[in-house]
Symmetry: C2
Subunit: 606 residues, 2 copies
């Protein structure tokens, strides 16, 4: 009862199935809903490029400019590919569906594994980065960042368990606040640079673009690819757009790609010209905003809006992860509990699972974005590659008008992302990427094992032959008693109501008390004989089990019911004061065929 | 199965009740069995006197001599009291029994609480001190002392779960080894001192016996009183002696008191003359033995025999604690599980509990004797005082020949120990004694609450009126099904065998699948109607519970059985892949009267 009240208080009252509605979003709302994940990566992408370079030398950081340009080119290629996907899959082209549709089950499961890992990491990375945005502005919170991160995940989980309904409008505010504050940051920064009113606080030592190991440049590039995460969101959500859905979705995708490119290049360029050096306790964005906007209200606006959009990005995974889980569970690749809509019309089990796993990940990686990033991009780029390959197959199969151009664009996107995937896997392998590389095949194998289990169960449960439901069963009841009390009376009456062949047994632990039990039993005049079982080893359960085996052997193929008189204490913890004989007998008989264990309960009132 | 094999391997095969035997001990064996606890306290008592004094000044440590003399006087008083107890209670005069017999239930429960706490602390303190004896000799083990302590408790627990049978002989070796090595240590020490071949390594600064705060002297005295722990053991164990039991026990008590006094005074005197200064990483005994015997084999013999007798002392609690628990449990002051003899004819639950609690205590107090000592003596001296008070009452009631002298001796013992108890409580209160002072009354209240619970249960279970076991019951069966499969066939056949009024119900989650279920059901030709229950909130369990309530309301005071078709997966973890509907229904109905829940299981083979 208390548990139920607590649940109601946290997640709200249950909602009826008929209340399920689907909101149709105008483009400006859709941009807010679907782009938070992609745009928010601006908060950490530049920093991730600078960190490996800065470890080499300050001058090496100038390489961030060409690297950022490469990533922007990659962004254009990937966006173009998804532009195609939107047209071909107007009902929503999530990578799992596209791959399943075109490449079959095994590649689809690999994609699904990559997607699930990606969603979990989106939560962990976004929350870690969001907390870092806050602790950059309020350094006293730095040592509490892990606690803050876990609280944030807890809140987002709770909100999602309640069900997020007013999504469009609620999402618009933080997204447009973020866009506004970053336009301001980059605009003011460029203006001050051009008018010469802003100078780098450090001076560059050595020449720009010094010779670097190629591996280091590739590693910085791989880290920066985190900027592309979330770009596929619009193509998954096409049905949520107003009509014409595909066209509106494509226009929104274009806008998102433009804003993302502008922000990413702007931040990287400003960081370069102001010679920002990554610090452990303060983010690059914070260092930049402090220099450009000073230490006033505008600086705090940038930090706050960054934290908010990152939380929003984490929140989108709470819609996507349970949705993909439920798709997999409906196909029996995951336990079926993940496919059931909860009280509030959301996939509660999936939401709960995501909250738990992402919080654990956050704790393992000490709430630090930089430690999580190497794991992040693998899943994302694997699903990009699989999805584009699926699209290539799609165009090849259907050969709709203009299919050759479409195929070429998707092939280009697929090959590019595959190459990037390889670069990330190699350069980040020892930094943690290996975990994901090992996990993806294991997960996809597990999906198949799960389906196989369900298949076996179904095969065993199907009724193949003619069955006779009217077939009478011969029925023996074994009724163990420890003494003569109220509960025994109920149990005997019940046994009489379900069968005629009743064996009442008592296990002798002390001769004296057994004599008393026998005497009281005879006084009850039940007409039933009491069998006394010896117990040389003082166990209550073993002699009963042996007796059951014996009776079962005698009566052949009939059914045997063990009726156990059990009293239920008034409060649950009082159970600890009593022997758990019923529970032990039930457990012992759990795996034996043809035994039914029935507890007849006598309820104590105090 | 695996669990059972593991248990067999650890604790051995079960023993039959008839194998229970009682060994009768000659005096020399009895001394070994019953005195390990008392004698082993020599290992830490002197050190505990020196620590508070040494914190004041080196010269202050000379006060250890008069303090040790006082404690020896106390020892004589307490031994004399127990000498009386042995004569009056030849069947074993444990403090709990003596107090229950003479002073009634409440004082007896306070005594029992003190005793149980004392036994737990005996284990923790002895193991901590034993490990310190080892780490003094082998300093590299110092940082692993907590692990070593836990391993030691684990081993002793395991040995006791197996049952210690050959106790007398096994105990003799380490006890006499200890006596031998300490006679050697003290003898050689005194000889070398008298012949002048041994000199203090430090020189005394300041005058001996400087003025000290009285509180400090009392605190040092209170700490040293740990020397008296275990002195009551012989009076508990009188029936184990050979005839004449009382006389033999008294002689053994005399010997034990003599040896203990000699060792304690000897060690304290030597420590004083050699100006031993307590160290954190090495015990006083170890420092002493190193100076007197050098760094050779004899030194290691002293350390090893000290560790062994301390382990033996811990072991005695594993006999006493479960015994007192079982006495309390038989009187229903503790959960009855503590009164049952296990497989190996020992009170397994009590042994397990003691191992667990003492290990936890060891961990909380970082495996350090000095931190544990302030908690130790309270329980011991409280039980001394209660026991002596009981003896005073005993003499007053019976007035046997010479009762006046006996009463006076016991009264003297009781008053002395009461005064010491007060001194310990005051001087050690803030060092941890408060925990025990709070815990003892709480525990004794809990004992009474437990008995009250059992009394209430018994009152509710007693059959007061005439009952009619032949009274026929009207019987309704509710049978919920999720689909039509093999398990349903078994459940329907079972339901038919126990009742005629059977209501088969199905909860509709999706209209489509419900139609399929209905169609398959009709094809089965069971002659039973299938009721479809709507579920607006997509819960499977709620509509079933509501239906049960409705049927129960209609059918009046008759019994309702819910028969649930359940399949049992081939491996236990596969259960996680399936909905736990049966479990949820069972739990929901647990506290409702007149509902019987029966699972009819269908076993999957793979």
């Amino acid at each position: 009862m208390a548990v139920r009240l607590l649940k109601r208080w946290i997640v709200g009252n249950p909602l009826e199935t008929k209340h399920m509605v689907h909101e149709r979003l105008p483009k400006w709302k859709a941009l807010a809903v679907f782009s938070s994940d992609a745009l928010s990566s601006v908060a950490y992408a530049t920093q991730e490029i600078l960190i490996p370079l800065s470890l080499f030398s300050v001058a090496a950081m100038s390489w961030s400019i060409p690297i950022a340009l490469c990533i922007t080119a990659l962004l254009i290629a990937v966006s173009t590919s998804y532009w195609q996907t939107i047209r071909s899959y107007p009902n929503g082209g999530g990578a799992y569906l596209v791959v399943m549709d075109n490449l079959g089950v095994r590649p689809a499961l690999v994609t699904a594994a990559a997607l699930l890992i990606d969603y979990v990491l989106t939560v962990s990375v976004s929350v870690a980065a969001g907390v870092e945005a806050i602790t950059s502005a309020v350094p006293v919170l730095y040592e509490h960042r892990l606690t803050l991160g876990c609280i944030a995940i807890g809140i987002v989980t709770m909100i999602n368990l309640r069900g997020v309904r007013e999504s469009g409008t609620v999402f618009a505010l933080p997204t447009y606040l973020f866009i506004f504050s970053f336009v301001l940051l980059i605009g003011v920064g460029l203006f001050k640079l051009l008018t010469g009113s802003l100078q780098p606080q450090a001076t560059l030592v050595g020449t720009a673009y010094p010779a670097l190991p190629v591996f280091l440049i590739l590693r910085a590039f791989a880290s920066g690819c985190a900027a592309l995460t979330g770009i596929e969101a619009i193509s998954n959500g096409v049905p949520a757009f107003r009509k014409p859905e595909s066209k509106n979705a494509q226009i929104t995708l274009l806008w998102m790609a433009l804003i993302l490119s502008a922000f990413f290049l702007g931040i990287t360029a400003l960081s370069h010209y102001l010679l920002i050096h990554p610090s452990e306790t303060e983010t690059v964005i914070s260092l930049l905003a402090r220099q450009i906007l000073g230490d006033g209200a505008l600086y705090y606006l940038v930090q706050l809006s960054t934290a908010l959009i990152l939380l929003l990005a984490a929140n989108t995974s709470f819609a996507d992860f349970p949705r993909v889980c439920s798709l997999l569970a409906k196909d029996r690749f995951l336990p079926r509990q993940l496919s059931s809509l909860g009280d509030r019309l959301v996939f509660s089990n999936g939401i709960f699972l995501l909250g738990l796993v992402s919080a654990l990940l956050l704790i393992v990686f000490q709430g630090t974005t930089h430690y999580l990033i190497p794991l992040y991009a693998i899943g994302v780029f694997l699903s990009f590659t699989m999805s584009q390959s699926g699209m290539v197959k799609h165009h090849w199969k259907l050969r709709e008008p203009g299919w050759k151009v479409s195929l070429a664009l998707n092939a280009l996107g697929g090959v590019t992302t595959a190459v990037v995937l390889l670069v990330i896997a190699v350069t980040k392998f020892s930094h943690g990427a290996w975990v994901v590389i090992v996990l993806i095949p294991l997960l996809s194998l597990w999906f198949r094992g799960t389906r196989e289990h369900y298949r076996k169960v179904a095969a065993q449960l199907v009724i193949t032959d003619r069955v006779d439901l009217l077939k009478p069963l011969k029925h023996v009841v074994v009724l163990p008693i420890s003494g003569i009390h109220r509960g025994v009376v109920d149990a005997v009456q019940y046994a009489r109501s379900i069968a005629t062949d009743i064996r009442v047994v008592h296990v002798e632990l002390e001769e004296e008390s057994t004599a008393r039990v026998k005497h009281s039993w005879d006084k009850l005049n039940s007409g039933l004989e009491l069998t006394i079982l010896k117990s040389p080893y003082r166990s209550v359960v073993q002699p009963i089990l042996e007796y059951i085996r014996k009776v079962d052997g005698e009566s052949g193929d009939d059914l045997l019911t063990v009726v156990i008189p059990e009293f239920v204490t008034a409060r649950w913890w009082q159970t600890l004061f009593h022997n758990q004989t019923a529970l032990i007998i039930r457990t012992a008989l759990l795996f034996q065929r043809g035994k039914v264990v029935t507890s007849v309960r006598y309820h104590l009132s105090r």
